[in-house]
Point group: C2
Chain length 119, copies 2
């Protein structure tokens, strides 16, 4: 609801960057599981991150006993991750205040109902 149509889900992208930074050897399936979305969506998100140059595919040709790919954050990727983290911090703080207000409002309603209905 917050996003502009067929574009990348920013919150998802940030979580992907965080997950990949802490473990670049995650497969798309493992990443999908961690993010709680489908394989197809994860693939789409990852592709977008690579297109933007935030993640690079490391393909060590014939490295023994290693997984096929590693999804490494580029320097830009790290920078962007930081920027997004700040942005989310700001947003979350706003949500935090909104939630406080919402909780207060819910309490008010509960009490009002109790008064009217004699609970």
């Amino acid at each position: 609801m917050t996003n502009t149509s067929a574009s990348l889900d920013e919150a998802l992208a940030l979580r992907a960057l965080q997950a990949l930074e802490s473990d670049p050897n995650l497969s798309q399936r493992a990443l999908a599981r961690e993010l709680g979305v489908s394989l197809g969506k994860t693939n789409y998100c990852l592709r977008a991150l690579m297109d933007k140059g935030l993640v690079k595919l490391q393909n060590f040709q014939h490295n023994p006993r290693k997984m096929r790919y590693a999804y490494l954050l580029t320097p830009q990727g790290i920078e962007e991750k930081t920027r997004m983290t700040w942005q989310f911090l700001r947003r979350k703080e706003a949500e935090y205040e909104a939630l406080q207000a919402e909780i207060a409002e819910l309490r008010r309603r509960v009490e009002a109902d109790a008064g009217v209905e004699g609970r």
Copy 2:
């Protein structure tokens, strides 16, 4: 993501009940605007509430200078609204705590990045 497929959006339903309780004369369009969703979805939600007996259509046949319908909460509707409000209060309090943790985590990340990157 939290819902079981083609069913009713509970959060939306609660907000609809709240809005209609405070003004039963809202048209579906006005309600849609207030809820921030499309007319079609509002119609669907409203129909579900009526099917469940939480909202009743008051159709005063030829009442002069009045809008065609009023969407009145039934006693069950009011009861259900209270139940849902409690439920949401509980959920929101949990979210509140989760947000606190998330904000702390974001702060931690920001500081960690600053340390690594010399910001």
